[in-house]
Symmetry: C2
Subunit: 450 residues, 2 copies
């Protein structure tokens, strides 16, 4: 049942393209799902892929284009004329068309839009381009089924059949007033069972969840997930119904956001994939490494100020990477937990309670680890008791401070309106490295006295 992309199939298709055997190509690709066409396209080189896109029906290729990776799609669109792109866009839902057109240069956008024959479709796309892509306005499609509260059921049914033609999945019928303000919703079942002369205003459900065009995507996802909605209407500043977001788009959005968060935590600042160009990958990775390098310079200077210790307590320096690693790991753990709490809006209770809890938790973890470290240092590595206690006590202090930094830096950033995800990965490990080393040597200096 499942489509399996095989090397033979790709070779066959490449051969047929070379032979310009369109009839045979069409025969091979006729039954293939657009999402699988997309997989085939990304295995071909750009000329071949463009050949296939021009050959097949835009109904099919428009869907395939949507499923392609952005990089591949961009290169295929570059080889198509504005008119050819416009033909693809005509077949797409407005939200998909707007997403794709936003990837083109300003100048090309104008040319493509001018070539779209269906003026209403073009208008809708232009409207969607105005919204931030991560807001409800940027996620919504214009396609939806709506009826006026003053219509009667019969008039409604025929009007609805018209509208439904352009809408892949109906989900809900939205009810608006004469000024297009969202009043409520109606299920197909309600409509079918209502007396045919009844007015919509008598039968609709006046309660409906909705979001505003400016609602952030995360919030839309949270509401739809909480209330198990398959679609949600979007209103403008005046409460007028302007679009609808469906759950499949939210699934894509949630997955993309999760990937971005994951990459951010790993010190990757743009959405990249393993198969992207070296240039793109460098652009995403190098800035964080430079940040870590500057942090490293600070740690070099900090260590330099403690060089008195080197004569008598050289072994202190052997424990530096251990202390730094523990500080980094604890900080990342704490920040990850807080960040998810902030994202899910599940953080409860006062800051003071959180402070107390984090101290107890990190003290407990710190003491267990310090005992292991001290016992290991004394019995495995042969250090004396004073030295063992010094590294143990330092470790406890470092862990407590690192967990407090990991917990409260994201909370403070969030309160300041800065994206707390900045305070993750390299940022937290670098600052905790520095603090950790500073605390470690300061405590050692007090106990060992150098």
């Amino acid at each position: 049942m499942q489509f399996e992309l095989s090397e033979e199939l790709i070779e066959k298709i490449e051969y047929l393209i070379e032979q310009k055997n369109d009839a045979e190509l069409l025969l091979h690709l006729e039954e293939v799902h657009p999402a699988d066409i997309a997989e085939i396209l990304s295995e071909l080189d750009i000329e071949e892929a463009t050949y296939i896109v021009k050959l097949l029906d835009s109904e099919k290729t428009s869907e395939a284009l949507m499923e392609l990776e952005e990089g591949v799609r961009e290169r295929i669109l570059d080889s198509l004329s504005p008119k050819e792109i416009a033909e693809e866009l005509e077949e797409m839902d407005t939200d998909d068309a707007a997403d794709i057109i936003s990837e083109l240069s300003e100048e090309r956008q104008q040319k493509v839009i001018a070539q779209i024959l269906d003026e209403e479709h073009a208008d809708n796309i232009v409207e969607l381009l105005r919204y931030d892509e991560d807001s409800a306005g940027g996620l919504m499609a214009k396609e939806l089924v709506k009826v006026n509260e003053n219509w009667n059921v019969t008039g409604c049914m025929s009007e609805m059949r018209n509208q439904a033609e352009n809408v892949t999945r109906v989900h809900s019928i939205y009810v608006v007033d004469d000024r297009n303000k969202l009043k409520g919703r109606l299920s197909l079942k309600d409509l079918l069972t209502a007396p045919s002369k009844a007015h919509i205003s008598d039968v609709y459900i006046p309660q409906v969840d909705y979001v505003n065009v400016h609602t952030p995507g995360e919030e839309v996802a949270r509401i739809m997930q909480k209330y198990d909605l398959e679609a949600i209407p979007v209103v403008d500043e005046m409460g007028r119904l302007v679009g609808r977001i469906t759950i499949d788009d939210i699934l894509d959005f949630v997955k993309d956001e999760a990937e971005k968060d994951y990459q951010m935590a790993a010190g990757i600042s743009e959405d990249v994939e393993a198969d992207d160009s070296i240039w793109l990958l460098t652009r995403a990775r190098l800035p964080w490494l430079v940040l870590a390098l500057f942090g490293g310079f600070i740690s070099v200077s900090v260590l330099g100020t403690f060089d008195d210790a080197m004569k008598e307590h050289a072994a202190l320096f052997f424990f530096v990477p251990l202390i730094a690693a523990m500080a980094g790991n604890v900080g990342v753990q704490s920040s990850a937990i807080v960040l998810q709490g902030l994202a899910n809006k599940s953080l409860k209770g006062s800051l003071l309670n959180r402070l107390l809890k984090e101290i107890v938790l990190s003290l407990f973890n710190g003491v267990v680890l310090a005992i292991l470290l001290t016992v290991g240092g004394i019995f495995l590595l042969g250090f004396d008791l004073t030295f063992g206690l010094t590294i143990g006590i330092s470790l406890i202090s470092v862990i407590v401070i690192a967990s407090l930094i990991g917990t409260f830096v994201p909370i403070i950033l969030d309160k300041q309106g800065i994206d707390p995800a900045m305070a993750t990965g390299p940022f937290i490990t670098t600052s905790n490295d520095i603090c950790g080393i500073l605390i470690y040597f300061s405590i050692a200096k007090i106990i060992l006295g150098f």
Copy 2:
């Protein structure tokens, strides 16, 4: 429109519970959505929450229970009798009921199941409990609408109306043969427009995507996302239709998996939240810290073997945290990119190509960073040229090796059938710390000769 949880509301409800003023409580909670009831329940203490659950209709509380955090739900269920739990389960879809019952002890599970009055419902729940919770079998619900290919359209319509009563959203009608084997699907529209005496076998669509009960959840999510499906049928080993997975459950699954991956990368091995108990949080965090501590012991020993360098080249030791941090950061970046490629099945090309690309990429990044380090070391920190070159060359080598470890450890684990997500966060940073320090001092020893 949106429900806002306020302190006044909670206080009001707590007061009414204390007064046992059921009538007033019912009035206050009547219009509240079950998902919002869940929010209220998690703000109350367990006795109060249980009071509300017993007071309200199980139709409402069953949905609220589903939305609760596992920890809170567990404690509420503990205060309910098997009969009361069974009443809640009767109102739930089979997949939700199975999820909740699986959180109870074996003994309690038996008692609760014995109290479920609807025998078919109980049977279905017991069947679902057999599957792994992350497989298609564990994700599916038994509720679906199916028709026999030999029925005619009229018989079908009436049978369908019966079945649809138990199914919240129909999505698709599945077609089976006499032995319950999945043959295809049918849309409601097709059924409405077909001549009433036609047989189903004449009008159904024989192409339908499906998964097997053992298909992993990730694969189900990938298929549903790729083909934009809102529901997918599940078959058993014999190809018999046994259940259906809907997109809202996949959205929850994708979100949970992303959270788990994120936590795993941060060195947290169980799904915990900021508000979980200190014991739970410790259990999730401490094992990784112990692992990092043992890695730290190794780095102490490695550094110890290079203590000859301390007399003449003490400054080498000041750069240890910088080198270790760079190795760790590069490794985490590389592993994050590969892990996402593996998860999305988007890794293409041969291992050799990937090796070459990773070497070029890391060499390029390494050279840029090494120039910064060497120039900074000489001009800012006042080291001589030989020393500056030593740390620069070491950094390049460390970055190349760290990025190769980060790239290939997950790929090798994946090929061995081990979850590659293990090779992330603390594991990669710890092993890269050790390798990085070893390479750094080995190169320094060659160049500086100690």
